[in-house]
């Protein structure tokens, strides 16, 4: 009878584990090139307009399974913690249950002690509520960092979240990370924007000379949601005007994929011939870089 019970329990466990699914954890060489024009970058070594990071890690491509399995999708609630993703899946499970004690058990002891002080009891409900607003936990990838593995998670609002794991025996346990490095910050920014190469903006309006008291309309065709950047022919100066396609306050043409910029007296320093650079990007650029200058179209008109 006892033997039958043990077999039964083993069978149930097997069935439960058999339903668990985790993103594949395979680490290889990675090279990530971050454009130096990305807003908010922390200073790091720049070469030819890019900050290049060579890492051991993993990035999920489109079509690969990178969604953390929820209990509602069959996760049993327990894993072997054999990979960071398995432990992360358990973390998501306990967070869904707002189970503070169970969550603490997923951390190494030194971090677990910090958690109570970090989030007082009366704030924990808010913490879980905030995390649980994220209905689908999507892993961007991971990379080896310090003594463990840092997993990057994409939030639905495109902001980036992180979880840090260290190996404790055969198990990956969570560890609280206190970090001020440029590497983590800059990679998080990179995956937030997933920057595409800057390209010359396509001007479709015909320009004529304009009075200083009038307005010069510049109409560009862009990819939907992209930014049009207008700037002087001088690196390391601020981008004078940046308008995102569809932004109700700055794009005067509501049509998707069309950006209309209006230049008036407050943008023009007087009556003269203007030669302005125009570029298109999928992220807001604040400062003029070499990349920007090399991938710009020219917009010329006279103000009288």
């Amino acid at each position: 009878m006892k033997k039958i019970l043990i077999l039964t329990l083993l069978f149930v466990t097997y069935l439960a584990n058999a339903q668990n699914r985790y993103p594949d954890f395979t680490v290889g060489d990675l090279e990530i090139k971050v454009p130096a024009s990305l807003p908010g970058l922390k200073p790091d070594a720049t070469n030819n307009g890019f900050i290049t990071y060579n890492l051991k890690g993993q990035l999920f491509a489109s079509g690969q399974n990178n969604i953390i399995q929820e209990s509602t999708a069959g996760f049993s609630g327990k894993s072997d913690k054999a990979t960071p993703y398995q432990t992360l899946t358990e973390l998501v499970s306990v967070v869904r249950k707002s189970d503070w004690k169970a969550m603490k058990k997923l951390y190494v002891k030194s971090s677990a002690k910090e958690l109570d002080n970090l989030i007082p009891e009366d704030k924990r409900a808010d913490y879980f509520k905030s995390l649980n607003e994220n209905k689908e936990v999507k892993v961007i990838g991971c990379f080896e960092y310090r003594n463990g593995v840092l997993v990057l998670i994409e939030n639905p609002d495109k902001s980036v979240n992180t979880a840090f794991f260290v190996k404790d025996g055969k198990k990956y346990m969570m560890q609280r990370l206190v970090d001020s490095s440029a590497l983590v910050w800059n990679l998080s920014l990179y995956f937030r924007f997933r920057p595409q190469p800057v390209k010359p903006a396509v001007l479709v309006s015909k320009l004529d000379s304009v009075s200083i008291d009038g307005e010069q309309k510049l109409i560009f065709n862009t990819q939907q949601g992209n930014w049009v950047l207008l700037f002087k022919d001088q690196a390391s100066t601020p981008v004078i005007i940046r308008v995102q396609d569809g932004d109700a306050e700055t794009d005067f043409d509501p049509s998707p994929g069309v950006v209309e910029v209006r230049l008036s007296k407050r943008n023009l320093s007087g009556t003269k011939q203007y030669n302005i650079n125009a570029a298109e990007s999928n992220y807001p650029v604040y400062m003029v870089s070499d990349e920007l200058l090399q991938n710009a179209s020219k917009v010329s008109f006279k103000v009288y």
């Binding site: 807003p39 908010g40 970058l41 922390k42 992360l88 973390l91 998501v92 967070v95 951390y107 958690l115 970090l118 989030i119 704030k123 808010d126 913490y127 905030s130 995390l131 607003e133 994220n134 936990v137 997993v151 998670i153 939030n155 609002d157 902001s159 980036v160 979240n161 992180t162 979880a163 840090f164 969570m174 609280r176 990370l177 206190v178 970090d179 001020s180 983590v184 910050w185 998080s188 920014l189 995956f191 937030r192 924007f193 100066t237 601020p238 981008v239 004078i240 005007i241 308008v243 306050e249 700055t250 007296k265 407050r266 943008n267 320093s269 007087g270 992220y283 807001p284 604040y286 400062m287």
Partner: protein, 514 residues
């Protein structure tokens, strides 16, 4: 003893002529009057039993010397008081208006005693025991030397033969005569003796009375009591009035008519009769900005007329006006920071006003419309806006809450001038401020965001030119770095990340005109 002994040479020679011992040795002579200047001096000497000497004096050039008593030697234990004189040799002095170098030389031969072993010039001819004299603190073995010394002493002197010459023959012109002379060598006094008064100076303009009958004009140059003169005969005034004209277009203050008019005469150029001006003085009209004033002058039976404009610069027309100040630089800065999210603009509140007073001013040869600008204005500009910014990876959305203000003032109190470009400009006193706040919506699970905004310096500079037209202002602004600093904590992994995000690197705006 040595110094005392050396003084013998001095006594025998140049102390005769103490003034000659100065650096500048000059004597003046007038070949015209025979007058000359001298140097005189006197001094005395008492010798001890060891002292004696003599001097032989020789001269070069037109210079003479004398000494009383005419004894150029002194023996031991003797007292002599000398008086000496130096003077030019008038007969051999150079021609008037030139100078020559001369000198006297004294060749001396003196004997004196000094303590042995002390060094010094001269030949030791004997030695004696001074018998414990005081200079050796009573040393009974101390000795003195008897010294003989030969030498000479030169005194160079410049002999000036003075002269003065009138530059022109004196002739009356327009009621006056210009008296001009050149003295040689130049130092000293120049005086003029004329039938119509005495004057001094190398250039004198003297009024000649109407009907002047002619007479001698003498200029005298005097230096150190030595004089030289030049005399010319000035012809009588016989002219009759020919023309009467104003020498300038206008007057701006009360002015004597002769000072701003000119008369000419035929004949020798000055009137045979007195000139009578009507009016004698002119000045601005209390009623009119510019008024034409008729003038006349009469000499004997002849009257001539002219006119001049009198300008009253106190008759002003005043207008008040305000300037529409440009807040473009601060809007430009906000545009660049915000990506043009603050299109609503700010409020611009002007205070104060300027006045523009226009009037006519006499600039002697022309009348110019002038403008005086006066007053002060202040402007306050405020703008508030909220715009998103990007670049913090753990933040879902972040808004920069921006308040910006610009306070500027401009004061002016200036008037255009008769000469020079009519440039009237004043610098703005401008102060700006930008305050920043954050509205942050955190990424999932991030529970604290202890971040704040750091804004570096903001400044504005510019000026406003009221003249020349058109009135125009220029202003530009500079803003330093804007940073967001702090820490965000939370997320799936309960991490803490430090934030040091440069929202804005800084900007120098272009110069805006308004």
């Amino acid at each position: 003893m040595n110094k005392i002994s050396t003084a013998i040479f001095v006594v025998l020679f140049y102390l005769f002529f103490a003034p000659v011992a100065n650096a500048q040795h000059e004597l003046f002579v007038s070949k015209q009057t025979g007058q000359f200047s001298t140097y005189q001096g006197q001094n005395g000497k008492t010798t001890d039993k060891y002292e004696s000497g003599n001097v032989n004096i020789v001269s070069e050039g037109p210079i003479q010397w004398s000494v009383t008593p005419n004894q150029l030697n002194i023996g031991p234990n003797q007292t002599i008081n000398w008086t000496g004189t130096l003077k030019p040799d008038v007969a051999n002095a150079p021609a008037a208006g030139t100078s020559v170098q001369a000198k006297i030389t004294g060749n001396y031969n003196v004997t004196f005693s000094r303590p042995s072993g002390g060094g010094g010039d001269g030949n030791v001819v004997d030695t004696y025991n001074c018998g414990g004299c005081s200079v050796h603190a009573g040393d009974p073995n101390a000795t003195h030397d008897i010294v003989n010394k030969l030498g000479s002493y030169d005194v160079p002197v410049t002999i000036y033969s003075i002269k003065v010459t009138m530059d022109n023959d004196p002739v009356c012109s327009n009621g006056s005569v210009t008296l001009s002379a050149t003295p040689y060598p130049g130092s000293g006094d120049v005086t003029w003796q004329t039938p119509f008064g005495q004057f001094s100076g190398t250039n004198v303009v003297a009024a000649v009375p109407a009907g002047f009958a002619g007479g001698p004009i003498t200029v005298t140059y005097t230096v150190q009591g030595v004089s030289y003169s030049d005399t010319r005969i000035m012809p009588p005034n016989t002219g009759t009035l020919q023309t009467f004209t104003a020498t300038q277009m206008c007057v701006g203050a009360n002015t004597a008519v002769p000072a701003v008019t000119q008369v000419t005469f035929n004949g020798n150029g000055c009137p045979a009769n007195n000139l009578i001006y009507v009016p004698l003085n002119i000045g601005p009209s209390a009623m009119w900005e510019v008024v034409d004033v008729p003038l006349s002058v009469t000499s004997g039976a002849i009257t001539k007329n002219a006119s001049i404009k009198a300008v009253n610069k106190d008759k002003v027309t005043t207008q008040s006006f305000q300037i529409n100040f440009s807040a473009d630089p601060i809007q430009n800065i906000i545009d660049v920071i915000s990506g043009r999210r603050c299109n609503s603009g700010g409020s611009l509140v002007p205070n104060g006003q300027f006045s523009r007073a226009t009037f006519q001013e006499c600039c002697n040869t022309f009348i110019k419309g002038q403008t005086k600008y006066e007053g002060q204005m202040n402007w306050s500009y405020g703008i508030n806006c909220r715009f998103p910014f990007y670049g913090i990876p753990y933040v879902a959305t972040a808004d920069f809450l921006c308040g910006a203000s610009l306070n500027a003032s401009l004061a002016i109190n200036a008037t255009t001038q008769c000469v020079g470009a009519p440039q009237i400009c004043a610098d703005f006193a401008a102060n700006g401020s930008i305050s920043g706040g954050l509205g942050v919506s955190l990424a999932a699970g991030f529970i604290t965001a202890d971040v704040q905004v750091v804004i570096e310096g903001l400044g504005f500079s510019g000026n406003y030119c009221f003249a020349p037209p058109p009135m125009q202002g220029k202003i530009k602004g500079t803003l330093g770095k804007i940073k967001v600093v702090g820490t965000v904590t939370g997320g799936w992994g309960m991490a803490s990340y430090s934030v040091d995000y440069v929202l804005f690197q800084g900007i120098d705006t272009p110069e805006f005109t308004f």
